[in-house]
């Protein structure tokens, strides 16, 4: 499992990017993280939802109860305008960081 510190710092970036294209609910987000990281990263309930609520408080994502026909109502999260700005900034930061790390440690691009 990935180091807890790394995971914490990147969690926000992950969630923001996952709701960039369309609104998703909590379980969907956690499944996506698991599959796209090929099992490396896993968020359980206790970690995911507090994070979602924090992002919502800051106004970067917006949660809304939506009822689709034939289903129970679920809470969907989508990216807000403010969130979009933050996402772009965080992406840049992350890219610069990775590039710098590579140069220092002599890692090659995977």
């Amino acid at each position: 499992m990935l180091d807890r510190e790394l995971k914490k710092g990147s969690a926000e970036l992950m969630i923001l990017s996952l709701v960039e294209d369309r609104a998703r609910h909590g379980y969907e987000i956690s499944k996506l993280i698991e599959t796209r990281s090929r099992g490396t990263l896993r968020f359980n309930v206790a970690s995911l939802y507090p994070l979602l609520y924090r992002l919502e408080d800051r106004g970067w994502i917006q949660g809304r109860w939506t009822e689709k026909s034939g289903q129970r109502r679920r809470r969907y999260y989508k990216l807000t305008a403010a969130g979009r700005k933050v996402l772009s900034a965080q992406r840049n930061t992350w890219q610069s960081f990775v590039a710098a790390m590579s140069r220092i440690t002599g890692l090659e691009n995977a």
Binding site: H25, N44, V45, R75
Partner: protein
Amino acid sequence: MPDFRDEIRRKLAPLRLEATREAAIVEELGQHLDDRYAELKTRGTPEQQASAAVLAELEERDLLATRLRKLERQPRFDPVPAGGPWHGGLLQHLGQDLRYALRSLRRSPGFAAVAILSLALGIGANTAIFQLLNAVRLRSLPVRNPEELVYLKPSNSHGRSGNFRGNFPIFTNLIWEQIRDHQQAFSGIAAWNSTSFNLATGGRSRIAKGMYVSGDFFNALGILPAAGRLISVADDTKGCGLPGAVISFPFWQREYGGNASAIGSKLTLDGHPAEIIGVTPPGFFGLEVGMSFDVAAPICSEALIDGEWKNIDRRDGWWLAIIARLKPGWTAEKATAQLESISPGIFQATLPERYKEKEAKEFLGWKLAAYPASAGLSNLREEYEQPLWMLLAIAGTVLLIACANLANLMFARANAREREIAVRLALGASRSRLLQQLMMESLLVAAVGALAGVALAQILTRVLVSFLTTSGGKISLDLAVDWRVLGFSGLVAVITCLFFGLTPAMKATATPPIVAMKAGVRGAIGGRERLGIRRVLVVAQVALSMVLLVAAFLFVRSFQKLVTVDAGFRQTGILVADLDFTQLKMPVEMRNTFKQQLADRVQALPGVESAAAVNIVPVSGNGWNDSVHTNASGEELQEVAWFNRVSPGFFKTMGTPILRGRDVSNSDTLSSPAVAVVNETFVRKLFKDKDPLGQTFKVDEGATKPESVYQVVGVVKDTKYRTLRDELTPIAFVPRGQDKQPDTYCSIVMRSDLPLDSLTTAVEHALAEINPSILIRFTVLKTQIRDTLVRERLMASLSGFFGVLAAVLTTIGLYGLISYMALRRRNEIGIRMALGADRMRVLTLVMREAIELLGIGLVAGAALSWWASRTARSMLFGVKNTDPTIFGAAVALLAIVALTASFVPAQRASHLDPLEALREE
């Protein structure tokens, strides 16, 4: 599928979240766990294992609760679920209501500004007056345990004759000593007298406020020195000379910069050196509220300082007041009983020799009594207490009128929010909850208004005090804001809030929701009932304004009459110089000539039209009276007449015409027959229609001396003697040169057109040439007279201001109401106009409502004014409290102003386009 929600709830329980919030989280997380479980089951995991795995996600070291706790600590702002039960306690709702009220007020800044400003002014004015009343009447003395203090007074004295000095000339020194030695009710007893000391040694006087105090004065009051020591019993012994003087803290700061070197340095009191032995603590001003003192000396020193004129041994020298501290367990009643029992002995031992039989009998029958004195004694209080209470009543009425306007505004606001309130009621909101929210707005406005009012009051109080301050001296009052003042303004704020907030709010929440939602801009049918209250409010406003206007007119007229009253002498252009030549140590037989010399010297100055010496300056508050009798008219007539001793030229200087006979002259000396010039009232009362010239009258000189006989040589026009308010009394003017016992004081009145400064300098120089040790004090007669009218001026100005303010507020109220009523009847007016009614008719229609309200209000107001004006009777001068012209003027003014105010909306209504009015629904 197992239900994970219970488990989630259990985890969230310690967070004590709000019900809705918890439910939402539980639902969301519950779904997540259900999905997880479903996924595991699809993969083939057995039920129990799957359940365990899912629950394990929750278990992880209670992370869920911990993390959520950090987030959920910020209160989530949920809209109040309409009709929700009382969750979370009173305070939470209070905070919500406060925020709601703030938002609501911020959306209508105009209303908020008007409301807060009106309240600030109204509450401020009331608080200012109350603060003054508090300082003058209610506040306790800054001494130890003031509630134990009483002052002594004969309970049954009807006046006495003799020599009076000071502000409270209740006892003589001998009576004081007797009481001190024979009382049993008090653990401490002290006497004092207020006086003034001239600190100068020559030339321009430097007057300091002084006190004579008995030895135990400071000890009995529990006063400790700020520096040095205070006068003690050892200092106050007969024949003590001048062992030392105590100065007050402010005096110490002012004159010595608070320097310790002041102790032990010397002061001059009326020419006698005194050593400063100590300083009283800051905050101690003596026992008379409104006064202060600079220097205090022991009572025994009066003998030295006043010299020839000492009062201390005179059996009829009244100058001391007595204060005492009750022994533990004693009450004022018990003390009075004890004092009554020792009274006969005391008065027997102190009977003045010169009292004749009748007066002596009365004196011997006096009984001493003790009265509560926790608030000290005060002449200021006597003079101003009644006017201040009256002003408070007036200011309170103005506040009521302003509140009526606010109530009308609140009604209008409530009307506008009818729909919103109706919807919420329909959705199940509790009425009391809504009421609380609406009241919160009123409470907020009242609270802010009150705070601003208290701040404003500090300024207003100072303005009021400066108003009352005369050239004679500053008024010293402790104007600090104490619990009484805050309590008062708090109470006023609450009452006003209830008054203008509660009724509209209750009415607003009482409308059945369905009715409110159907109504148009006119407002609900229930509005008719609301309109009834608004009408009553306006009528009340008119009535109260009428009362205030009548009061204002009465006081203004009274003041005007007083200022223009014929005093019998000319008030302008006269300078008075009070001279004291005690230090010259002139023998008695030379004094009369010397005084004439002084007057002549001043008269000779260039620019001085006329000058004369006089004993008692007119309208200075001083006086000298004696009992006179004569049977010149055939019957024996007796009156109390007032006397004055004047030099030739006095009447010319004062501009009082001599009607018959002659002025006093320099040939009226001690070796010629005693003569007098009398005034018209004297003639009328004592000589009836007999020609007074050449007639004689006798003056009662007491039991020990023969009567004096005077011959009338002239008659002058009536003049005012002690105050402008006095009735005209018999006055006899006797010649300067025939004074058998001249003292070392002399006042010179002079008439001149010179500017004040150059005149005073010239006089000073001229008198210094005669002798530089003469002490001089200048007063302008006009200023001195004006100072005696402060009370009347206060009432006139303030009642006038409040009266106008009340009229303005009422006008606004009437305007608002008529506008609203016209608006309500738009449809009706439109129909009428469509059916052919012309502008005039519409105008009349609307105005009729206004006239109705005005009429009822004026009638009620007139009745109320008639009843209320009786309380002011004693404060009026030259005008009756039922004066019909004043009532008429008030009615006229109010009617004109109010009708103009209602004319505007009526005019607007009559210019209505009928189609517009009908279209609107």
